[in-house]
Symmetry: C2
């Protein structure tokens, strides 16, 4: 019979550590993977903290690696290696990890949960990670911020005024829907990887646009989103992680602080 849902536990032959391949020096998109692994107390390695780790990233994204006849080459990190599997794309890696790390509900009881949670994670990454990144690189990711400052200001003003409230209101609506269940989480009354994604997005935007986020937090209409952020911080394993040296500071990654972009909405 065709089976219907991804594994809840590591498959036989894959009871090995997870290997996260990501740039050192910034939390970046790799942070979404780290939070899932940390919340599950999973056994993992991270090229951000291994000697010569950056070479492993470069080998995978610039060369023809892995070309093992099984895995297509990845385009960009984060990349997850797990046994003989090599996959990339943040939401895709979380899709793979979710059932294995217990970060989706029981998929035998609720097989469609995977798609509902994946949709939420994709939407958070679109509106609250990719768009903030484009606020400081609206013209070209290959140019410096200094070469697109005027456009960055204009885009950030629109983002803070229109897009950010739109996405926070959307997630507030999700959190207020019946499908979210009881408690602070997005879906089914249990913490899933979509909650960890939303936490990281809100956390990064608080760093990048502190004035706007302080105002939005004080207004009616986004209380549940900010409560979710707090509820994730209070998870014991996440709390310990956030206080550890493994939690890197925001710097020149997705979420950046530029005073001139810290716009009052």
């Amino acid at each position: 019979m065709a089976s219907e849902t991804p594994a809840k536990r590591p498959r036989s032959g894959k009871d090995v550590p997870y290997n996260l391949v990501y740039w050192p020096g910034i939390p970046g998109r790799g942070e979404h993977i780290r939070l899932a692994l940390e919340q599950a107390a999973a056994d993992y390695t991270d090229t951000a903290f291994t000697e010569g780790g950056v070479n492993e990233v470069l080998e995978l994204v610039q060369g023809k690696a892995p070309d093992d006849g099984v895995n297509p080459p990845p385009c960009a990190p984060p990349i997850l290696k797990h046994g003989d599997l090599v996959i990339s794309q943040t939401p895709n890696i979380l899709l793979y990890l979710g059932p294995r790390l217990g970060l989706v509900p029981d998929t035998d009881e609720d097989p469609d949960a995977l798609y509902r949670i994946h949709g939420l994670a994709l939407t958070a990454l679109d509106g609250l990670s990719n768009e903030p990144h484009d606020c400081h690189h609206p013209i070209a990711s290959g140019l410096y911020y200094e070469d697109q400052k005027v456009e960055s200001k204009r885009k950030s003003e629109d983002y803070v005024k229109n897009r950010l409230p739109k996405f926070l209101s959307y997630f507030e609506r999700v959190l207020g829907s019946k499908a979210s269940g009881d408690g602070p989480w997005l879906y089914g009354g249990v913490l899933t990887y979509a909650d960890l994604v939303l936490f990281q997005c809100v956390d990064g935007i608080k760093f990048m646009f502190p004035k706007a986020m302080a105002k939005l937090e004080g207004e009616r209409g986004h209380a549940r989103v900010f409560a979710l952020h707090k509820a994730v911080v209070e998870q014991p394993k996440i709390k310990a992680y956030l206080q550890s040296p493994r939690r890197q500071k925001y710097s020149n990654g997705i979420y950046r602080y530029y005073e001139e972009l810290d716009i009052e909405p």
Copy 2:
């Protein structure tokens, strides 16, 4: 036992038509869903062609619908309704449809194929759909193109010169990797939904940036990508679809033609 892979066939109780909910008047992101449904000759409805279809889109993205205790509200179309399931996000819908429409390899034999194919689709959508959209809306999706023409020109120049060749070269590398197998397809020697996504992206960019694409097609280094585009066009069901009135013309959607953005690389 925990099952490991999504269904290859509609689940019991879901042997009902697929309902695509998308804006009328543009192919847009909905086109990726249509191509999958058409290639599989699936039974489906499409709000782009049903009377009052736009109201169904608005009800789902503006209101609290569905709020059925099962599905979180979607943020934006495309949305897929299938029986009691309501999901959004283009790659997520394709993830759901892939095994059901026979657009991924046999997941019993190759359970990790799902993640490899999903990663390819996500990368194509990032670099060859979202970025082209941002070429004509680099500052704000809520403003008219006319209000961001200068920035659009600057972004398009970078896209055509740097980003477009980068992503075409990446997919050329994937098509040349051992994991792609024999024939024109990205993964495992069989047509998957990732191939349909890449086709639609290349097709749209040929419309949007014809000068650049003609040059890139004539150069060494991207032959396999353009051959994939041709191979998809030659699929009998796709061929019939492309000639049908269901295939909408590119207009003011993701892929737009503006003479001033039709840059020679």
